[in-house]
Amino acid sequence: MASPVPIYNSNPLDTHSSSTSRESLKMDLLADVSLLPGEERVIDKDIIYICPFSGALKGKVFITNYRLYFKSSDADSAVMLNVPLGVICRVEKMGGASSRGENSYGLDITCKDMRNLRFALKQEGHSRRDIFEILFRYAFPVSHGLSLFAYLSQEKYEENGWNIYKPMEEFRRQGLPNDKWRISFINKSYELCDTYPTVLAVPYKATEEDLRKVATFRSRGRIPVLSWIHRENQAVIARCSQPLVGMSGKRNKDDERYLDLVREANGTSKLIIYDARPNVNAVANKATGGGYEGDEYQNAELIFLDIHNIHVMRESLKKLKDIVYPNVEESHWLSSLESTHWLEHIKLVLSGAIQVADKVSSGNSVVVHCSDGWDRTAQLTSLAMLMLDSHYRTLRGFQVLLEKEWISFGHKFASRIGHGDKNHADQDRSPIFVQFIDCVWQMTKQFPTAFEFNERLLLTILDHLYSCRFGTFLYNCESARDQHEVRLKTVSLWSLVNSSNDIYLNPFYTPESGRVLYPVASMRHLELWVSYYIRWNPRIRQQQQSPVEQRYKELLALRDEYLKKLEELELSDSPSSHLAHSSTSNTSLPAPSTPSQQYTHLQTPF
């Protein structure tokens, strides 16, 4: 049975609302905004924030070229908002000059990160005109011919995050090139495919001419290329876009031969082609020139993974927001959750990735594609790699994975997120990357010791997916990034992360190379990522901290403390120092009150 070990009181701190003493409030309300280098004040104004949780709050809003900052002037319910303008999806005027009712005149802001903000202003004198225009301008700089904040930021970090991913180094880590796979620079000036990276790994036997021919038969020239190779069995994950079969059922011998080269490389008897789409969608794509691999592909088997398209995912997340914001649906919560289908989509993506990983780990090479190969394909390949390759489960390895599978292979971040773009109803927008990060979170939940990084990293990534503070997620593909000199003119998110990486580390991480992680893709285990989707709700927030992690850190500190004391005692245990020591040890040991004071700083608030 456990003998007593002292506890240290925990003080949950939050980042959203924090109480401040009256004295400090009397001073400048906004004195404690620390601006980023390059961030500039644009306007400040008295305003009423209509908080969905605590009601209307008087305060001051402060807008810079990077963020909207609000602080309530009421000391009893001190609420603070710190919203990067990049998060704003839509700004609308609410009510008119003649609207009746309290706080009916103001602004309604829809955010990309599962919340809405409402502000009310005085009705007289068009008081909202300037703030509306400023918000509209700075939240959607691209639509106004302005620069995204990433280009204005003057932030400096110890480490240059742009160096985290070097394609050649990553290929070398995987043991490439080898006698079956070569590195091709055919796309060095984006001539073969303008949405692919410059460096590609292709079958050794395929000539540059072959690649060009294959490119004509693959949507947008996104030919099958190697993304990952299994060190032992040499099975590969190749990714591409759909073949351009069309209504007439065109064939392309080069494409067929090329896929057979992929199969042949490790002697796979049957190449499995995973088409991420539902069967019907793949058929429907024929009407627009696309399609899927038919029987003409010998030694290949096509499997549909039934994952829906970007539009379905967008609507699903929208429904989810409806049931969690501002208030969590109370009655029949589970049925409501089910009706959003969000977790069901997560399940489909995960189980697709499990099938890919399972095939590859049993020695079978696979090809993964959807329509264009930049949404569902990226989800599947990167999740399968996360299951197969423990390197990607480290803090830096995960960054490499994102840089490689998502950024370099042209997931259309700009279109999917709509950075700086006012067109909130754009049908190209979709939370595909959010869905992927959710899948990663589900995996970290199921395997809490297998990942070197923690939930905080995932939250940070999602926050900066929208913030436009870093260049990492800007633009649709590498060619556009080159054109806009992203790597020269902006800071990488990984600069921030790797310069203070200890806060992103999982203390329970136990490295186990070579172990394949298969999450359980059953609704029994999938759960809503409350600390992301419902994080704005103050009722939920308390659940966020991990008491397990806190306890572990306290115990670690206690162990170090005891070890040190033991050492000291042993050193000074000579007869001459007995007296002096007996007194100290009697007062400080094992009285828990002493260490509890010393260790309060150990609580890491989330």
Binding site: E338, Q446, A521
Partner: protein
Amino acid sequence: MLSLGSGGGKSAKPSFVSYVTPEEINSEKDTPKEEKHPDLLPGEVVFCSASTVLKLTQDELSQRGTFGTLLCTNFRVSFISDEETGEETAPLFKNKLYGENDIPLSCVDNIYGGYEDKRKLVTGSQVKNKYPSKIIIHCKDLRVFQFALTFCKEEDAKRIFQGIVHHCLEPKSLKNIFAFSFCENTAFPEMQMQQRTMMFDSAEDWAQDLKRTKGSCRLVTENANFGLSPNLPQYFIVPESVSEADMTLFQGKGLPIWCWSHHSGCALFKTSNLPLQQEDNVPQSYMEKMLTAVAHNYLYSVKTEDLSDTLPTVQDIQLSYSKFKQFFFIDSTTDFWVSDMKWFSSLDNCGWLDIIRQCLQKAMEVVECLEKENNNVLIMEDGGSDLCCVISSLAQLMLDSYYRTLQGFQSLVQKEWVAGGHNFLDRCNQLHLKDKENVSPVFLLFLECVWQLLQQYGPAFQFSETYLTVLSDSIHVPVFSTFLFNSQHHRASILRQADSSHSQRGTLNCPTVWDWSVQFDCKAQQLFINPLYAEKPKLDKSMRRPHRPKHQRQLSLPSATFKTPPKKGFFKDETDSLKKILRVKRISRWMLSPDSPQPSSTSREFYEAWQRKPLDYHGLLLPCLDGPAVRIWMQRYLRWIQEVQIFGGGLVTVLSKVSDLLDEVQELQRQLDRHSSSLTSNHQRPRPRPISAETDSRLSVLLSSSFPFTTLKNNWSYKPAIPTGLLQSLMNSGNLADTEDDDQESLVRA
């Protein structure tokens, strides 16, 4: 394991297609000895047995299984495999009374007969001559067993089937319950624990609990021999002003029984409702008198709550649970994935989580009255020993951190449930009565609520999830006196009878469930301790008592911190007008419809005010009842289902790391203590060895999310579970799905 091929063969019964050739059966039959017995417990007798029974693995489609002998004893249904299991290392978490292939008789939930491809629920009566080709047993601990009888001799098959059905389903008398023959033949040493669980079967225990909470009520000892009423506990506590005459008036009904005192002085009482209004005014005036007595306890305030009106009935609870549990009896992989699709809505529809939520909500309202308003609370209910027990014990768990220790929790169960007269025998149907009207998993419901608190505030509890799961299993192990009786009076009268018939042996001594050494060795009991729990730092060492922790009231929130003004019309101020006191307040503020409880805005406020404060695990705890916060007790319900086991994963991988570190820290602490106590220089202290990373990681790989209930054999497969039949439910997710694929328009352009 014998894997059966697809080769057809002749079988004993023409209706069954055997997958085993007769040769295979013969070769199997040569080896096993005729009579195989488990290691029988003292007092255990074998009723019948059959050899060459095939125990099928979970997936019925695979037709794989193990041959062995199936027995039925007066304690269990037991399957003994023909395969040698000698080399198998002893599992870490082994129950000493029954093994993984044993089903205690009272743990059997339902028996199904498998006839060709149909299955029928066996109710007992239709078992004359027919016997099924397969016996499927669903257990109350959620295990599922399938035994194929097609390879045994016909008369063996008939006998074992009838035997199992008879002993598991037919009503029996209490004295035929295994506990009695077991206890007659076993001597249990006195429970040896440093900290004793208070049994509340003595005046001292009650006096001590009253003293601990600084309550000022009256301990009644006159019922020690049930002279006042058999419906009342042997010892109990009532408000000061209740007279002895009051106690006997309605056989104890309507009498407010003290549960717990708040540090402010107000207290929680429970009572059973008086019989329905009679012509004379006696019950009415009696009730008023009792309310006055409660009100007198502190500041002339009392709030009453009739739980019969505001919470689901015991029948509702039973109905909901019987739907709920079905989701966990998985017969095949196909079954599993089909049910996965509508998982959330199925859970929702059976209402079980909602009942849990309602109980926690109600308990929170009681807590609010005590903590924030400092009112005396009287909860009542028809019998006074079902939902009263749930709500009063939940409220005490939230308010008093003593009850969140292992011994404190056990004492709480003793106080509110065992001494409180919960009808365990009837509610758990230990006698297999056909009339199920009284059957209801009320105690399990309480454990479910405790689990919710535990998963929300892990560090506040000294006991672990595993402890709760094991406790819930133990209800159906017919050995413990804890769950065998309907009341203290019932227990006393039964034991007296038993004693008189076995007088030569002295008093019959059934162990209580708290004597965990009956079921588990020390090592396994370690898993009952929650590594996240840290004892409250004791600020003043001189105050430290050797035994029970002190009541930690000073840590609950002082009521002054709540800003809400006291309710209007509240009779706190009226100190002398008895008439006003009789205007009793009801707590109940919400009851829109039974399935959609909308917590009142004030109790929301209460939660939110509490939640804004720093969380003190040794102070007041309030559950979060928002949708996502109330969850499924995964360990209990999913532990046997293979498809959901996360190999090398689950929270246990993290908890085991905390446990290891805790051990290390405790070892260091002992060394330091030794150092400071014995100052004689002794340099031969072994250096603490840090836990080697190797063993550590190996452990975490072998753990699974079902730990410690399913142990992974050496050959656990890396094969992932791949969901099947995914598409159906999503097919109608709107026209978006099939209209166009992403980026169609641009594709056309390209």
